[in-house]
Symmetry: C2
Subunit: 226 residues, 2 copies
């Protein structure tokens, strides 16, 4: 029974790894679309979001199957539940990357954001790229130690977003209304990506701890910010 | 065993009903805050969001307990899983109502939106108020027939949101940058509330069908839009 459960959990873990890689790539490519007017990158993110959604549904079904056939309890059960919630968080991160790609496609060949904000958006993107890679590493290497870095970096991301909104709402704003709308929406999508990354990192710690009992399990955090 | 499971599910259902009422009230009061500069209403939504989050965590724990002790299978299992996901959707609806209330509090005593958009935002709010009430009715009366109305009305909500964005992005826009930012963000929060209401309605159909086998169960929809 135990062996079968672990095999089942391994199959789910492989799909989680695959989903995390897809989300990491979607974040990176949506940044290319946003900052370099890369239309191919935008289209790739938009087209690939369906694969991310399919993986989410597949993981959910695998988890329901595990619950039905193996009746896991205690930590095993919490790991399966956390895995279902992690898949939903990844799915939403894919949606947000798609929203950014769609905004970039909408204004192509022009940038959706004004020139003088490119630097700050680039810094936000760099944080998100690093975070996307870290979440993959956490899952693949079963390494929970970087979760704290992801949580710490989210403060920096929020600070950059605050600066963008302060400028957008201030007397020095130079740009069209369309650019202002894009700055507000894209800024929010990126901030949300960071929030979901924090939520994902906390869940990965919990899931990985369950995969590897030598790690101390932490309680899954229930709060998703929308 | 069956009796104990049903009793457990009943306890979860009571908390789901309570959570739906809280979300319905949060939607209504956030509209009061937005459209009537009602500061008390805004503060009530903001303060009460913690209760909604607590209910979500409580429901999740109850579901995990049910899974651990009762090992539900087939429809029972899918109902428990759908219930967990429904609680998360309600939690996010509460967050969105809070975001609207916070925007209204930020600009008090002024309205966050320009005068000439009040009518369209009022129409969006009316749809959301009706939808919040319908979701409560679906749960309390175990009535799944109104789900289609909720799904239909979301198109009307999206059309109103489209009109608002078209005006905000158009040559006739009259307002400050702060108002433009508020229109974009609040419009998006309300559109998202509608999307989550659709996702909630679909899950309620599934959950209620499980509570009452005379109803035809439908497959739980995995897609949450963020």
């Amino acid at each position: 029974m135990r062996v079968i459960f672990n095999e089942g959990l391994k199959a789910v873990a492989d799909n989680l790894d695959l989903m995390a890689r897809n989300v990491r790539d979607a974040i990176r490519l949506s940044g290319e679309a946003l900052l370099n007017q890369d239309l191919d990158a935008a289209q790739t993110v938009i087209d690939n979001d369906a694969n991310i959604d399919d993986l989410s549904a597949k993981i959910l079904d695998q988890c329901v199957e595990l619950l039905a056939r193996q009746n896991p309890v205690a930590t095993d059960l919490r790991v399966v539940v956390a895995t279902m919630r992690l898949a939903t968080t990844f799915e939403r991160m894919g949606d947000l990357a798609r929203h950014i790609a769609e905004a970039a496609r909408r204004t192509y060949p022009n940038s959706p954001i004004p020139e003088n904000l490119t630097g700050t958006f680039t810094q936000m993107q760099q944080f998100l790229d690093i975070t996307g890679g870290r979440i993959v590493d956490m899952l693949v290497d079963r390494d929970t130690s970087i979760a704290d870095q992801i949580i710490r970096d989210d403060d920096k991301l929020d600070e950059l977003h605050r600066q963008i909104m302060q400028y957008a709402d201030g007397p020095d704003w130079k740009g069209t209304n369309e650019q202002l709308i894009n700055v507000v929406l894209i800024g929010r999508f990126m901030e949300r990506l960071g929030d979901h990354a924090v939520s994902a990192a906390r869940r990965v710690v919990f899931v990985v701890s369950g995969f590897d009992p030598s790690k101390t399990p932490t309680r899954d955090e229930g709060t998703d910010i929308d």
